[in-house]
Subunit: 289 residues, 3 copies
């Protein structure tokens, strides 16, 4: 596991599951930074295989799923940041794994796990922030689009170039089509040409763009703000948001009106029961948390 000095200086490993760390060392892919001195409650997951452009290989996806779920079990956890080492945030799937040497079953496993991880991000009870400083392509672009919040440096770029190698970015298109205006998403998908950071902001793929030297500060500021709020309330709010957004207006208001009343009651009685409330209906059927 490679740990850059600057990163190490900024973060402390307050809580490391030895088993996970071992696996990560073997995989040499992901660096879990479960907390920081600056922002207690923040866990940073660093895609840490810059030589492979942080490709989402099967081991990388498995680590990412494990680390996302591991963090959830931590009582202290309030917010997750997904960052990356090197000039490429994430280049998408590992094309080596998608060669003819592997069979359909293996290919299915890769895409299914990828979809599971992307969907998991929305299901997690804490906000997940993509911190992008570089190029995010294909499933890497999908990863950014799948996070709740995305902060990008001005030099960042976003593309879905699968079409250029005969593999249309159909799974990334799921996330892109829900984050971007249709024409912008289709031009990206049909041409493979990148969006600049400012275009990504204008069109809603990211929620904030800052100069590169302000990226850490801005991400910390947002994280800090989130950490100051009740974990239970954020969990309830996040789950409710994704639950209502696909409903018609009347149903959405029925769901959220009830949540507001529950939220209020538990706020007045103390937030301890919120976590129970949250778990009882958000994760039905329950995932492997």
């Amino acid at each position: 596991m490679f740990l850059s000095v600057t990163t190490a200086k900024r973060h402390r490993h307050l809580e490391v599951n030895p088993k996970i760390q071992l696996e990560n060392q073997q995989a040499e892919k992901i660096l879990v930074l479960p907390s920081s001195t600056e922002v207690p409650g923040l866990s940073t997951i660093v895609l840490n295989n810059p030589r492979r452009r942080n490709a989402l290989s099967l081991p990388m996806l498995q680590s990412l799923r494990r680390d996302l779920l591991h963090d959830v079990k931590s009582r202290e956890l309030r917010v997750i940041v997904i960052a990356a080492e090197g000039p490429v945030f994430c280049s998408g799937h590992d094309l080596k794994e998608l060669s003819s040497e592997d069979d359909v079953k293996h290919h299915s496993q890769v895409f299914e796990l990828c979809a599971e991880v992307m969907t998991l991000i929305q299901k997690l009870p804490v906000p997940v922030i993509a911190k992008v400083n570089g190029l995010a392509t294909a499933a890497g672009c999908q990863l950014v689009a799948s996070c709740d919040i995305a902060v990008a440096s001005e030099k960042s770029q976003f593309a879905t170039p699968g079409v250029n190698i005969g593999l249309f970015c159909s799974t990334p298109a799921v996330a892109l089509g829900r984050s971007l205006p249709r024409k912008v998403a289709l031009e990206m998908l049909f041409t493979g040409e990148p969006l600049s950071a400012h275009e990504a902001l204008m069109h809603g793929l990211v929620s904030k763009v800052v100069p590169e030297d302000k990226l850490e500060e801005e991400t910390m500021k947002i994280s800090q703000k989130i950490c100051e709020s009740s974990k239970s309330v954020l969990a309830l709010g996040k789950a409710t948001f994704y639950r209502q957004i696909t409903q018609d207006l009347d149903t959405a208001y029925k769901i959220t009106t009830k949540v507001m009343v529950d939220n209020l009651t538990l706020r007045l009685e103390g937030a301890t029961q919120l976590q129970f409330l949250f778990c009882s209906w958000v994760f039905a059927p329950a995932p492997e948390l």
Copy 2:
């Protein structure tokens, strides 16, 4: 009821229901300006409790519902503007009403009425314009997002800071999630940090931003333009828009193709029957108009 001189000068009370005026005086909350000399057909509803930051208390919500519905009955009415006195457009719910002194039933009543008013705006047969000159937060931001059109001055700001006091803005999120890109909405909801007017425009929460000294002029210009068109045609168009937007493409085109033919027939025959057509299917089951 407080009526600022400048406002009084710009508007004439051509039609005031004495009962409503009395109730408003008691509530000292909303100022109904049913018509104006400049733009006949325009009714302005002014949130008029700046000392309470125009909070949407239960009486305020009741007045707002009554005033929105009252206007509808007026034959002359073509467009409604929702404006506000003071530096805060609307601060959302009155937190005093959401304290432990009141029970769940009371809390439910507040949120249900709020959802009803927000939904009512879309159901009204005339366009409703938010004219924002200041801060709109929580349910106040929801009110802006729920209007058909929103014009804001450059100094305006929009936020959903409920999370900061342990009450996630889940009902405002219904309107925000349908007006803004997902990441922008979630960053607002998770951090409580405000959008500037220009950010709100870029992301679609408002449809126009102008310097403060042009806000009145721009709102009047849009209102004037609307008043020049057939009330019946606007009513049919508005209802059809909200009816088709949640459907799949083929169903949407089936609905609107029929509406176009009906619209055309009645345009040629005279617009008098359009109102009947509109009432017969838009409001089924009929609300209390």
Copy 3:
């Protein structure tokens, strides 16, 4: 059929169906430029009735449908550009056809065919690019919104002014409401006022805006890029995009995960079977291709 010298110079008629050309000459409406020397695989359909502001009359819509479908049968075809002669890209329906002289049945035919053509654009197995250099109004604006990609010159404008003549743009609203933030679409529909090209870009109605003298170059660049990719892969990707976008997230990922695996298999085996795969499920029930 009018063919401007500059256009003629840039395009070669490699493949012209004499019957279609004859009909077009009679109709004097649409110029089919099935291929170009610069970009083999590009077919340009030129709305070519500038004196009538390229109105979408019934014959124009019939020609457009025929030309869109004709192109599809061409094995060489990779991308379609819809362009226009004159300062107005397209002014929408021909109001002469919507007069009282014609009956309801005729009016229905016009709107139904229009909806069919707009929907057909999404169903075509090749990307369709609107190349806009001027004013696009009503069903002309709908045409732009219905294309997969839209490139506009800076002087272009977009409006839905039907409300001003008592015929609300309800069918254009279907396409606008799926391309633009709700408030922006409604302000356009309620007032008839135009969006500038840059506003259209900011809000997602078009995907690119360039100076007028760069419009041809930019459109060719995008077309060229598309033509470099596999036709089968693009067809599969386009169909999959529109299929998944209306589904819930889990269903969308199920659909696309399967498509990715199929895409990969056929990429490795050679792309010849992709066309078959595409035809077997995308067009069920099969349209008249």
